[in-house]
């Protein structure tokens, strides 16, 4: 089964999709990191992306979030917003949040401040020079602190947190940023079993209100998510469907086990 892009584009609108990639290619010094990649994520969907190392998972996230410019192809957000010509900050403000593979938080700020900086709202320089937080914003941060189980650590430096706590903090930063689409790169890498389970719970809760794309290696974790799975290989989509379907796909088996 080849992943066919079923969403139709009318007058430049990819109807019903939150994210629409068509024929996206990126090459670095001749190496094709993405090769004619086409992928559609529906509004409100939770999608898992798997694939061996070098399959182009992280490059795909880079292209969507404006870190890397694609050589060719179409990238539409919310049906008709072209992401190709925008930079990271602009794309973030449009409503795409990203969690890095390695937990990336502001280490010399405390947990609360990390969330404060990520909080949806004004980003302009001159406002930030003269204004602080409103009570309502404070409550929002407190609520997220409870969700990510860091309520007692609010005044601890982010740099002092454990690996798992940093991952949660970063997810919390995405939550307060309140993007429509979350891109999450390997959220459970390096986590204990208990932490992994808690993270899965957290992601399922987030998926209730947002569209989420998760890149993950851990098959058990992906199974727990119960999401549609896309398999990437050498920069393009190899298979798409439920986890059972793709696990029984002959080519997927070859890519993961063969050679």
């Amino acid at each position: 089964m080849t992943a066919a892009v079923t969403t139709t584009v009318h007058d430049g609108r990819a109807v019903g999709s939150i994210l629409y990639l068509d024929g996206v290619s990126v090459s670095f010094d001749g190496f094709k990191a993405l090769n004619n990649l086409s992928l559609v994520v529906e509004r409100g969907e939770l999608r898992a992306i798997i694939g061996p190392n070098g399959a182009g998972k992280t490059t795909m996230m880079d292209v969507i979030t404006g870190k890397t410019r694609p050589d060719a192809g179409t990238i539409l957000f919310r049906e008709d917003i072209d992401l190709k010509r925008r930079d990271e900050a602009e794309i973030a403000l449009l409503g795409i949040g990203r969690k890095f593979q390695k937990p990336t938080v502001f280490e010399s700020h405390d947990v609360f401040t990390n969330l404060e900086l990520a909080l949806k709202g004004e980003r302009a320089l001159f406002r930030s020079l003269f204004f602080g937080l409103s009570g309502e914003q404070r409550n929002r941060i407190d609520a997220v602190l409870r969700t990510i189980r860091l309520g007692e650590h609010r005044r601890r430096l982010a740099g002092e947190l454990s690996h798992g706590q940093k991952q949660w903090l970063e997810i919390g930063m995405l939550l307060v940023q309140d993007p429509e689409l979350l891109l999450i790169d390997e959220p459970v890498a390096g986590m204990t079993d208990a932490e992994t389970e808690a993270t899965g719970e957290l992601l399922r809760a987030i998926a209730q209100g947002h569209s989420v794309v998760v890149v993950e290696h851990d098959m058990e974790f992906v199974r727990g998510l119960g999401a549609k799975v896309t398999v990437l290989h050498e920069g393009s989509v190899l298979a798409e469907g439920s986890l059972e379907q793709v696990q029984n796909d002959q080519r997927v088996i070859e890519v993961y086990l063969g050679r």
Binding site: A89, A92, E107, H109, L125, L129, G132, L133, L157
Partner: protein, 372 residues
Amino acid sequence: MPRAFPPATWVVMPLLLAVALLVPVLNLLAPPGSAFHVPTYTVSLLGKYLCFAILALSVDLVWGYGGILSLGHGAFFALGGYAMGMHLMRRIGDRGVYANPDLPDFMVFLNWEELPWYWQGFDMFWFAALMVVLAPGTLALVFGWFAFRSRVTGVYLSIITQALTFALMLAFFRNDMGFGGNNGLTDFKDILGFNLQADGTRLTLFAITAITLALAFATCGYIVRSRTGLVLVAIRDAESRTRFCGYRVEHYKLFVWTVSAVIAGIGGALYVPQVGIINPSEFAPASSIEAVIWVALGGRGTLWGAILGAVGVNGVKSWLTGAFPDVWLYALGALFVAVTLFLPKGIAGALAGLGRARPATPPLAVGREAKA
């Protein structure tokens, strides 16, 4: 709702204002020979240290908070100094060696017929004061615009700041640039009609410098305490994360970079009347590197550490160059190595660590919750 100022402000500001008052008072009232008497020579020396402290503060603002290691901040300091020097030069009038009322001595010496266009207006103090701010500010704005927009960071940025100050040094060395070449600008007579050699003028300049330092400290303190400051530290620690949060990193960097250059320029403008000369050696890469060392020794990212470092290192330098002229550079090197090894957060970091029994609280977060 602004977040106001860091707690250290309420110690540093009164201290600097006290110094502004006390040093001149001790000069005037304590009889010469008494232990409390501060000779005028020392007052000017201290004034020079405080100008360096203003420079150090500006370096700490960009480096300690924004993570931009500038190895060329001396250029902004020198530009402010040259703007002031040009004014003082014009006010010499016909009291120069050649007694030419229209041209500074060095131009007469070079057989120039008339004042170059870029010297026009410098006879007026307000114009020169404006240039003290505009010259370094504009250079920083243009330089920063290109550098930050092209995302030049880290060691590459440090290298081009170094190249910037080096290029300016070479340019200012040239006689036909019209800034006095190698000799620079000197032989100043008076400022706003007050004789620069008079004790009263020197004491007043010292007091103004101390007050300016206090105001610069408050300005930097306000910035680092505001959300802008929080974003700066975020950029320093995780630049791409900050971008993915939706912040325009280049705007924040450009803002703090330009403010910092202006502060450095003001420091330079106060420096020139007190030392009586400005020449291209102020642009020397080594001067800018020395300023970074003051900040590193004093404690990066604390603001007050920068002041401590600048005054401390220069105090030791004055003493050592007098007592053991040969060992000064070795001593500075040894000091830098020792602090890097044993006090990675500088003197300020070590002092703050001593005063804090409970687990480390970030310097920026102290007291914020109480304010909030």
